[in-house]
Assembly symmetry: D2
């Protein structure tokens, strides 16, 4: 492989242009080709990047000898087939989130990449933002103490998707953030939701995740909100964090607040619960574009053969949760064990 | 009965002083006596209201001939017993929310009051605020169209209660508001939550309510949040409302936003989903204290024998939902039919 | 003097009830008498405080032997006469802000109190808030570096006063805060403003104050704003502070931001200006009521003969600035030397 | 002239790329050439727009036969010379704001364009935003009643300019907005400010403008603020507007609030002042990019020979105010008559 990683991008819709721009500007990378079924989208590529090859055929792109890595940025239902073809053609792969439509598909891609020694990475963009990295840093360093809850609201007036429910469109961000920040995997899920347009998937959903120990997580997603909210609370025994992604500055606020537990003077088996309130501070967060950090990380992993932060396993864990939540939601909150689905996926896969 | 309604208040803790002050200033009402087990609380009453009788005995207060109505403002586990005694003594009754600890108790109080022709009212305070009345007005007039969802967040760093979980402390407000604003009753509930202090009830809870048709409701309550939030979204097919109780002015914002459904030109069985965004307006809301409006309403109901807006039935419906949610939460989101519990309550009661 | 300071309050309008309540609850103090010309106001006092004497005659109150100190809470045009009478009757005095209508009057009160060895204090309430004390603490400790500017906006839809312009009503708060926090006195003032109702004083005003060195201050006050804003910026060479009094928590935010000056590598006489941006933090501020802290301070000063934080000199400095600003405003921003007026005042006074 | 207006852009620094992008995408326009003294900036142009000619010589660009109009986007001290050369070469001209360094220069450009029948437009970008157009629409339709005040705060941590003070950098936006929205010209100015870095111009400034009648305007600009604020209040006798440019939606809020004046029942010569508070609404504002609207307007003016909304006279009026304010600031608020400077400018020019 040359010293420059040459990427081919399949899908030039909403997210594709951002991927092309960031890889075009990424040192050590070059965009070799872009594929889209729509000629007018390819014309756009040509106007902006005259040196980039364009094609309407994904097979052609995947089989190009001058391409080292393939980026899949199509609707989710084509992720599996395209990524598999790319891996089989010996290309490294970066897939837009969610990784695949099913956990079985995700596991097959993981195996395929592993057996071929290729890099497989999932575009969990938020993991590469300064704010989420700050949260990870604090939890990993124990600054928050024991984590008690993760609570996220991600709502706005959004496009009603035809094929996936609002969990697969919006909650996927939170599941990717949680996977990175918490370093723990939920054991079970209870989700509820509703579809307000006939024959469309759910446009509003609530998802509770249970972890071992005293951690609980909840995600509220909604395509039918008059206001846009992107706010996450991360509560710990020592400190608590609010992450508001719509704040221009001060995206992360750290509160020295919580409960204090003191042994009761009257009863040694009892604890007295008290308040603890202290300062708040908003650490300075680097403002570099997440996708540019992510592109550099992908290039480094491909060049050096190292494992990506958001590898296929991370993508799989997120898809498993989405599957479990969708099943739970279909039964109005019925508890679904995430582990069971993992096994089911593994079985199906063999 | 004299032309003035003379009330006796049992319980002078957190809420009692507000009740006494508002009834003291309410035309057509007078505070005759206050009862509390703690002498220092009664001393406070005497300093502020030298003319009011004080007693540590609830029985004494209930049996006073110069008292027309009894207000029960004690912890919830004594509501039933005290309200029942008052009704049996022929007094009208106003009970702080939640009405009782069980739906069976609530139904017995309703029957007792009915058989004696006495007024029974529950202190669902929010129903008497300008903001909630505005929401009711808009839903009743059809200004919001079909109601799609009610979503509320009610969180802060709060006192961990010993006896009740966070639903009975905080979600009760939302259930009372919904009961009044929506004019519909949920058929089933799925709730999740967690206790972060051993041997204490849940301090964080999520509660989804399913209604007939395309309405869903969700309430998030939390005693362990570093920030205080009191924000409700009410989404309709024509307009949407955000109620933020922490806003000094502009508590209610009405958004002319939503989805627009158009028959598809290609397929008569399909609808095209589009956005609709328009103006926002914040109607002027009267700022009178809710409790003063409520006191006047109670006095009017007692004097004229009319049914209170927040009568025993409203109190019962809220308690039924809290029971169902608590049961569901104990089973990590298991769907609980609200109707079943209603019947159970009725059966037990007979 | 007895061990308890007995106060008499003249004026039971908007602010008087707060003064009476706080002195009534202040250890070491007792409210002996209240005076107001309006019988209905006195009736209110009697209902709330049966033990307090009431009178419509200020002379009577001032001459009572059982009163140690007089609090003047009338409109400003009566401050001088009443405070002077109280001092002459040997009473300690606390005057609502602004201290007097003219600096000449203020100086005469200072002299009178000094010659009699009596305490003279001005009710600059904000000086006794946790937020302002925090700002003072930071400036005094050098945490902000050199102070570059004080900028305050204090606007709302307010009552148009008949007798004083908006500076005497609203800017007086900022002048009192600045006097305490900055520890410096302006040398000159330029103010502009306008009256929008015929025959009324200015309802909107802008006031710039020049200090020795590189400090400038500006205050914007307005009775005709559709929104309420109470926001002060305090810019220093090391750190900057935003004080937003309408924030429930986080009233004070400290920003580690500013400019950095580096000697130019090319020209030793030049400095390169750069940005410096860092964390923000919001220190925990004690929430005790300012007036309660202030009442305790007044009682301590009277009892121990110590000098109040907000003594007559502080009151005088604020009145001098208001005089200078009013003169400047009458001439559309003409620069007025504050020192000149001090001298003028002194001359008149002799 | 061909049916397409071919523009040449001088200056490819901060604002130039936005101009090139918008004219490149503007129907009826084409970017023919770009000039910048820095080769690395021209390389950037070539990479993005391979078809556009580049040059380091402004003279060459101005003299090109295939260019119909010249856009001057250099630092302000070169505006006059370059615009004059372009007009003399028969080109239409669009100049970035502020138009020129002096009002004399502005008037000469106006005369030159008039005598040659060429379009002269100034890039007062805000005039082409949906929010400012909405404000203009409301004032023009009388919806706000008589305008009482314009008050703007435009502060942030900003680059300290070497050559111009903060008024020429930031207040210029407000003066351009006011010129369009109010339709009135101030008669005099009082400004104050301070420089916190030796040998640099003022970095903080306050500017009051007096109009005939009961209108007053004030602008606060500051390069040394820890927070970014872009907030304008427009107060009228019937309604009031708040324009917050940092709000993602709801940039414009209209308040049905103000004072009500009623003839006094006691004195026919007196007016009673009362409050009036009502609803607030936030009209939907079109989100199209201002510069794209402005480019289309320039093309239309050039093609049809119509007068631009922000013509040379508008640019001149803004420069006159900046001159007057700078003079006033040098004398600590001394009142400067704007008319006098106009005359002075005219005299000098002849």
């Amino acid at each position: 492989m040359s010293s420059v990683v040459r990427v081919g991008v399949i899908g030039y819709g909403y997210w594709g242009p951002n991927l092309v721009r960031n890889f075009a500007e990424c040192p050590g990378a070059a965009v070799g080709a872009v594929c889209d079924a729509r000629p007018e989208r390819l014309a756009l590529v040509q106007r902006r990047y005259p040196a980039v090859e364009v094609t309407t055929s994904a097979e052609e792109l995947v089989s190009r000898a001058d391409i080292d890595a393939v980026i899949v940025a199509t609707p989710v239902d084509r992720h599996f087939e395209l990524a598999l073809a790319a891996l089989r053609a010996g290309k490294h792969v970066l897939i837009e989130k969610p990784m695949t439509s099913t956990s079985t598909q995700a596991r097959r891609l993981i195996d395929e990449a592993a057996s071929r020694g290729l890099t497989l990475m999932v575009d969990h963009t938020f993991v590469y933002t300064g704010a989420v990295r700050k949260m990870r840093e604090m939890t990993a360093a124990g600054e928050l103490g024991d984590i008690y809850y993760y609570d996220s609201v991600r709502i706005n007036l959004g496009l009603f998707q035809h094929d996936v429910n609002v969990l697969w469109d919006l909650a996927v961000h939170d599941l990717a953030i949680m996977d990175y920040v918490l370093g723990q995997t939920p054991v079970s899920v209870s989700a509820t939701g509703l579809a307000h347009v006939a024959a469309r998937p759910e446009n509003i959903a609530y998802m509770t995740m249970f972890f071992p120990g005293s951690l609980i997580a909840h995600v509220h997603v909604n395509w039918l909100s008059p206001v846009k909210i992107r706010r996450t609370l991360l509560g710990g025994s020592r400190r608590m964090v609010m992450f508001d992604d719509l704040e221009a500055s001060e995206k992360i606020k750290v509160y020295d607040r919580g409960i204090s537990l003191n042994p009761s003077p009257e009863n040694v088996y009892q604890m007295l619960v008290g308040y603890r309130t202290g300062d708040m501070y908003a650490p300075q967060i680097p403002l570099s574009e997440a996708l540019s950090v992510e592109a550099a990380h992908f290039v480094a992993c491909v060049s050096q053969g190292t494992r990506p932060l958001t590898d296929g396993e991370a993508g799989l864990r997120v898809v498993q949760l989405l599957e479990a939540a969708t099943e739970s939601m279909a039964h109005q909150g019925r508890l679904v064990n995430v582990g069971r689905l993992v096994n089911a996926g593994s079985l199906e896969h063999t």
